[in-house]
Symmetry: C2
Amino acid sequence: MTALQTTILENINSPADVKKLSLNEMKILAQDIRQGILNRVDKVGGHLGPDLGIVEATIALHYVFNSVFNSPQDKFIFDVSHQVYPHKMLTGRKQGFLDPLNHPEISGYSNQNESEHDHFMIGHTSTSVTLATGVAKARDLKGEKYNVIALIGDGSLSGGEAFEGLNNASVLGSNFIVIVNDNEMSIAENQGGLYKNLKELRDSNGTCTNNWFKAFGFDYIYVEEGNDIETLIKAFESVKDSVRPVVVHIHTLKGKGFEKAEQNKEWGHWSIPGLISQNLSPSGGNAPECYETITKEYILNKVKEDPSVIAINAATPGVFWWDKEFRNKLGKNYTDVGIAEQHATGYASGLAMNGAKPIFGVMTSFIQRAYDQLSQDLALNNSPATILVYWGGISSADCTHLGLFDIPLICNIPNIVYLAPTCKEEYLRMLDWSVEQNEHPVAIRVPASNYIVSGTEDKTDYSILNKYKVAAKGSKVAIIGLGDFFELGKQVKEELKTKLNIDATLINPRFISGIDEDLLNSLKSNHDIVITLENGTLDGGFGEKISRFYGNSDMKVLNYGAFKEFNDRVSMSELNKKYHLTKELICQDIQKII
Amino acid sequence: MTALQTTILENINSPADVKKLSLNEMKILAQDIRQGILNRVDKVGGHLGPDLGIVEATIALHYVFNSVFNSPQDKFIFDVSHQVYPHKMLTGRKQGFLDPLNHPEISGYSNQNESEHDHFMIGHTSTSVTLATGVAKARDLKGEKYNVIALIGDGSLSGGEAFEGLNNASVLGSNFIVIVNDNEMSIAENQGGLYKNLKELRDSNGTCTNNWFKAFGFDYIYVEEGNDIETLIKAFESVKDSVRPVVVHIHTLKGKGFEKAEQNKEWGHWSIPGLISQNLSPSGGNAPECYETITKEYILNKVKEDPSVIAINAATPGVFWWDKEFRNKLGKNYTDVGIAEQHATGYASGLAMNGAKPIFGVMTSFIQRAYDQLSQDLALNNSPATILVYWGGISSADCTHLGLFDIPLICNIPNIVYLAPTCKEEYLRMLDWSVEQNEHPVAIRVPASNYIVSGTEDKTDYSILNKYKVAAKGSKVAIIGLGDFFELGKQVKEELKTKLNIDATLINPRFISGIDEDLLNSLKSNHDIVITLENGTLDGGFGEKISRFYGNSDMKVLNYGAFKEFNDRVSMSELNKKYHLTKELICQDIQKII
């Protein structure tokens, strides 16, 4: 693979170089940047549509503001980093887009370790205005002068922290510039009254009476031609060094310059590798059966039986494969609340408390945005809503999107029943039990890998809480394999037999949030060691509760899972080695203490 | 103590009785309710100002809406429950206000276990609109017809979940009524651009151009006379059965009818017992030295040295005794962000990342509203902000305000250093280290009780992380007493000596968020039992990490702390007995396994 050749970008090594360009050269630069985005996304995947839409604005930002010359320099803070690729290319990191050899060197997110032009590590939405308010206040306290610019858009405005930030930024009393990148979209469609107001503003060229930003006290400028560099430069120049908080609302085209992404904006938001080289397209084929497909089928059937069943998500329907066809079939039995996990959780609780049957699908990394709602709105009320937690587990993901923390987050809140199925049959049984019962808030950790069809019907009554299942009775060593790590448990059992001639007991706990005291006590009679396996962080997790339980006994306990750390794109082989998550390493550990 | 006699309230046993009253009788009822509020708050403490202000509106609500006659009935959801006392008095619970014998029977918060007229247990702010959106959607899915009314105010609008709720409620497409109780206050003063807009609306009698609610798409009515029953009845009648989302903005007087609370609204927000009987007043006397006073003194001195130091809180300055004098002295070095813990956390991170020295004070129960900000905005960025966590620990508090969950919440997030001082000297040393260092996000658990002056200067270098301090060397049993439970550890040590003639080792871990592996390993040589004591929930907490550490060894470990449960006003003696948090019970446990 060779590096992509470009015309102007070739010579851009820092924002200082952007300032030397003519308008025509900047237009060619925009083409170069688009090629760079497509080149990288084709090779390693990443955010596509939002980055393609923000190319011109990023060039104009670096042209107008002093992001490198002056000291202290103007500071840009890019919300959620969906729109940070062009900025990266203009700030010394273009090779990460142009040359496949350099792709791994840069992350897909804002990252202060990569460049002095990034000020934060950012991957969750709706944080930019809040962080920038802190940056601006620090500037003011230290008596410094420069522009602080938060760039927010792509659905991020609907998250509560964005609102809390705007409410406070608007009374900061000094320079503060918010660029609202309005590409008419969230990850999927935008949701809510605020976005209706944005449409009204677009339709009236920014002149309509109701103006959400002005109501906060912001000055306000509307830029219809949000992909025209010249217009953007004028707009940014007009607010530069403003001493009042100001919103620049720019209307851009998500996916601009790549036809398939322009035409199907939801599909074009983020792409797996192969965009061009494998000619990926929105249609796709029929997927093989998996947790995503059986969940959809379950929900569709259930809604037919019971009109009070409702599927909820917070702006990421694609994660669960809740495509347009699925959404259309559900109609009023579907709500996308936009990027608003707090609302989604409380909304689900309100629905369940008033007799409906909500099923809220959410990514591990994002359910943590709603801890207080899980605790107060849901658990304290024993509201019988169902939450499906996807993508939990140890992975090579970016440090901003780790699926490691859901177990400590959820299983330590009283009243919530957190379940870990190990196969299709258990999952569907748990799901239906949860939807039909009326006693507990229930979360189910949908396995992120290991789609297992056991072939055996699960007839468990999950209303009898915290009953673990003994999959195989043995002695000396008991293996408790939680959720998708039950498969690792099976491997360890085999290895123990082969290497140490131990017939280990194998247990599928199914309940993350509680202890089966009777079973654990019964193990004491003929076991010396219990090992726990969980696909998540150990600190505050499932295994520690087993360790605590056995603290007053002679039982030895080994907990396996991830350490407490933010890993950034570390390979699974490295992590498995470090955390001893292989049958060989676990057997060696057991051998040492047996 | 005898029950208070009232004129009209005497005969009100349900909302049905309110409907029979004449306007004059309702005015007398308002006086009765005020007497009831004052009577209860004088005896048991509670929310005063917000309840006094909402009396007339509550009478009008029950007069206009069918909160009992029809089935299904109209549903009121009271945000944060600061304003729920009059509602309680009209819905069969008046004796809880009138008769001291009945005071303990009702809680200070909305509680569905007390009455069918309450629909949720609510004690945290900004949740009403979200919960009500779920209630309304369930109504629509089931094809039912009634009014759903969220009553929000008293500062709660600035919390992110309120905004997320409004954004989605505004597009619900069916009946949804939001009553904004604008008493010009939060717990302290209101903060932010939104509240400037409320003032503009008040000043223009609701007619000004910028209207935050209309920008969402809500219909909007302004009621200047928010304490006039007749006016309120007309306003509520005009929106009853509305099929569009509507906001009724009512202007009320916080503290109405009790002069001291009208004149000092912040003081009158909530009162300890003795309001009338002890003639409590805002002035107060000089407080003895305690963690609150030394923190204030530290901050004031620090700001003089370094203008980049800034004290932050989210609408609860009174919790930290940050009174007006303190706030005025700090000037620009103080920010109250309003009820907006997410913003406060991200704002602190932004400040620290740009070289300022933020100190964010927060209550245990409310820091959980910012988990994702702790994780993403703060910890992932290793932003060296300081967070002071107040009121952590086991208590007889309402189930909505427990201080039990901060340790699992904070100590399982990578990078955050969570510290537990045991005395004044340690606390000040930790605080100053945290403010001056530049490496870690730091949280300090300010002891909620046990103000101990050890008299010995603490010279510890806290940049050497996770070094526990051995307070007394012994053998057989090692006691690890965390933070304010170090005192309990001392008692257990004495009891062990007296009863079992054991010279136990006593350890002050100081670090909640990490393990001192060297020390713990060294204990193996001459100790058989380690006990951990923590003033919080065991699940996901500090002690479980010690249990995990010793899992592969012969060391026995006993963890002491609270169980995973939401207790509601349970006495400390009962809890201490249940959790074995006395020296006698702990020694008995040790004796059993030694």
